[in-house]
């Protein structure tokens, strides 16, 4: 921590002549500056809470490469025909107009941790007193031999929502009776643990509702088990008997590679051919995190469990999928929860706001078939070692239809709640 008091420190920073050379959005009138890279569930929430709770005492800038944000959560429901693409796509206008956040529509290219500035792709610099890095994930394409960014145009990953999701939807809608879908599931750790299996459920829902009963879905999984496995498998047996085959590594023996030109997925056991192949490769923190030197050997960013502060730099916080959050899964809900701790800690750092003990939570809903929703969730508390789970729950197999329908309806309410919490109202 600086030797100066926080208030004295911010006054000095504001008086610095260097700020006069900054672009318009960087020229603060002596107020402490919080900058957020990434306008997803973590970054959007953090920017909104800092701006909302600090009022005029802080300047908050949000740097986001895209003008519109499509949520990964509920993107499977778009694939299944339960949501429109528009309904899962959000803009940043409200954050700018109702909360006074400076939204910079640009790619953050580099962080100069000594000068405490973020360089944008056009070369301009945004100064910060505290920086939040919430870039989400980058895909490690070559973790699956034969796969690449170019191959993703043929075998979409659709693990970052947007055009990739629309591409997958188009390919799904083009499937004809008797054609086969193959999914290559990702290894741990990855964004949204139940996501691949909810996606397969939505694939099956589409096939079934169109009467494509001779089509099959094969999942080639590098993991021996997966999130909500008993719930998904029960649901698949019930709603889609014989349609979905899941192979763990003890069956397929290992993924040798994929060939986009033939639609083949080769394993030690056999070659599986898909008319639609969805490859979800291994993942790491978004590129800016590594460029800023915030990652460790795992490819993700270690943080202080009590505050979300980077272990590499006390002026930087890392949120969401990019950080190592102990027992918390990589989910939008987790990122939103972590954002509130970071936002509070930064207000404490910069404007002496009250700081309360960190608390974290997560719930992940998944839809298996129309009105058949399930959920898993937990509460977490920081410890010296990690963010640790303190209590948890999961839907039960054999629950009656009314419970499952209520769970699904609850997830719709949650979507309204969390997207308002991220993007404002």
């Amino acid at each position: 921590m600086p030797q100066l008091t926080r208030r004295g420190f911010s006054v000095l920073a504001g008086a610095s002549a260097a700020t006069l050379a900054m672009p318009y959005y960087a020229r603060a009138q002596g107020k402490p500056k919080a900058v957020v890279i990434g306008g997803g569930a973590g970054g959007g929430t953090a920017a909104r809470y800092m701006a909302k709770d600090a009022g005029d005492e802080m300047d908050v800038t949000l740097i986001e490469a895209n003008a519109m944000y499509t949520t990964c959560f509920f993107s499977n429901l778009y694939l299944g025909g339960f949501r429109t693409f528009e309904s899962i796509t959000h803009g940043y206008d409200t954050l700018a107009s109702n909360y006074g956040i400076t939204v910079v529509n640009a790619m953050a290219d580099m962080v100069d941790r000594d000068a405490k500035t973020v360089a944008l792709a056009d070369g301009s610099k945004v100064p910060y007193d505290r920086l939040i890095v919430a870039p989400g994930i980058d895909l490690i394409y070559d973790s699956v031999p034969g796969y690449s960014e170019a191959a993703a145009e043929i075998m979409p990953h659709s693990w970052k929502a947007g055009p990739q999701t629309q591409l997958l939807k188009a390919k799904l809608d083009a499937i004809e009776n008797g054609q086969q879908i193959v999914m290559v599931a990702p290894p741990n750790p990855y964004r949204c643990p139940p996501g691949p299996y909810e996606r397969v459920s939505m694939f099956a829902h589409m096939l079934k509702s169109k009467g494509l009963n001779d089509s099959k879905i094969v999942i080639i999984d590098p993991k021996p088990k997966f999130s909500k496995q008993a719930l998904f498998q029960e649901g698949w047996d019930k709603h889609y008997p014989g349609m979905i085959e899941w192979y763990g590594p003890d069956v397929h023996g290992g993924i040798v590679g994929v060939d986009p030109s033939t639609g083949e997925v080769e394993t030690d056991l056999d070659i599986f051919t898909g008319d639609l192949v969805n490859v979800i490769p291994a993942q790491k923190a978004g590129m800016i995190a590594a460029k800023a030197g915030l990652t460790n050997d795992s490819g993700f960013c270690p943080i202080d469990p009590y505050s979300m502060r980077s272990k590499m730099d006390e002026n930087i916080f890392v949120l969401g999928d990019a950080c190592i959050a102990g027992d918390m899964p990589k989910s939008g809900f987790s990122a939103n929860s972590q954002a509130k701790v970071a936002a509070m800690t930064i207000r404490g750092d910069l404007i002496d706001a009250r700081v309360f003990p960190a608390k974290y939570s997560n719930t992940c809903w998944s839809l298996i078939e129309t009105n058949d929703g399930v959920k898993v969730g937990a509460q977490y508390a920081p410890s010296d070692e990690k963010i640790a789970s303190t209590s948890k729950f999961i839907s039960q197999t054999g629950e009656d239809a009314a419970v499952r329908q209520a769970t699904y309806e609850e997830s719709i309410g949650w979507y309204e709640g969390i997207t308002t919490d991220i993007f404002g109202a």
Binding site: Y49, S337, K340, M344, K359, G377, G413, I418
Partner: protein, 262 residues
């Protein structure tokens, strides 16, 4: 099933009993020019008759799912929901001292008045009839069930509500009593609330997840303790409350209680 004069939505026997005046009443409320009234007109055909022929005894049992929020009978007061005394003939959203959603107040201003017919429509699908209502009740699909509840409401709603000076309710030792006596720290509550508003909307809208803004302090505290002790069963809420102590729960009640729904 051969009765040609049967209403589309309800069993024939109810349609037979429909006094002519019921239809006129719904038309009268349409003159209030409110959307709700127009909507009522549009669906009047599907619902056919007003709620008659319900069994108040059966209604009393069904009312149990309403009871934790709505008081009725002698000395009834507002709780999580408005009290239901004098309900029949009351304009929607009109009770003094209760924090209604703006949607409900708007409908009341536009002429929605509670009677057997409007309650029947509302109770079937509350969120569809009043989008933006704070009432987090999914609705009662079975028409007979609705008739029974309405009959029960009608039998009990004649009492005048208690005034502020009414005799105090009998003191009872209850769960959450310690938290109820605390002066909750609203600033702490605001921080803790950030965990709640991921699902429960700050606007007070209930879309599949209940509204929790503007609740009376004791009701809020009681509800959280009921989750904490598994009297109320909901996995997410049981999990959320397991680590909350008296101070946290009182802080949350203080914060949310001071908010007004939009």
């Amino acid at each position: 099933m051969g009765e040609v004069h049967r209403g589309k939505g309800g069993p024939g026997r109810d349609a037979c009993r429909t006094p002519r005046a019921r239809g006129d009443r719904s038309r009268a409320s349409a003159n209030g020019a409110g959307l709700a009234a127009a909507f009522l007109m549009a669906i009047a055909g599907t619902h056919g008759a007003a709620a008659e022929g319900g069994d108040p005894g059966k209604g009393e049992k069904l009312y149990r799912s309403c009871k934790s929020c709505h008081e009725i009978g002698a000395n009834a007061r507002n709780g999580v929901g408005p009290h239901l005394d004098g309900l029949f003939g009351r304009a929607a959203g009109s009770l003094e001292g209760f924090k209604y959603s703006s949607a409900m107040k708007e409908l009341g201003r536009n002429g929605l008045v509670w009677n057997e017919f409007t309650l029947d429509v509302y109770l079937e699908k509350p969120r569809e009839f009043v989008p933006g209502t704070r009432m987090s009740f999914r609705g009662m699909r079975d028409r007979d069930d609705r008739l029974h509840v309405i009959a029960y409401l009608k039998a009990l709603s004649v009492n005048a509500p208690a005034g502020p000076e009414a005799a105090p309710v009998l003191a009872r030792a209850e769960m959450g009593a310690v938290a109820m006596q605390l002066d909750g720290d609203a600033a702490y509550g605001e921080y803790l609330s950030s965990e709640c508003v991921t699902c429960h909307q700050m606007s007070g809208r209930a879309d599949g997840i209940p509204s929790i803004v503007g609740w009376p302090k004791d009701s809020f505290i009681r509800a959280l303790f009921e989750y904490k002790t598994n009297i109320r069963s909901h996995q997410v809420m049981q999990n959320m409350t397991v680590n909350l102590g008296n101070e946290e729960i009182a802080a949350l009640a203080a914060y949310f209680g001071a908010l007004d729904p939009q």
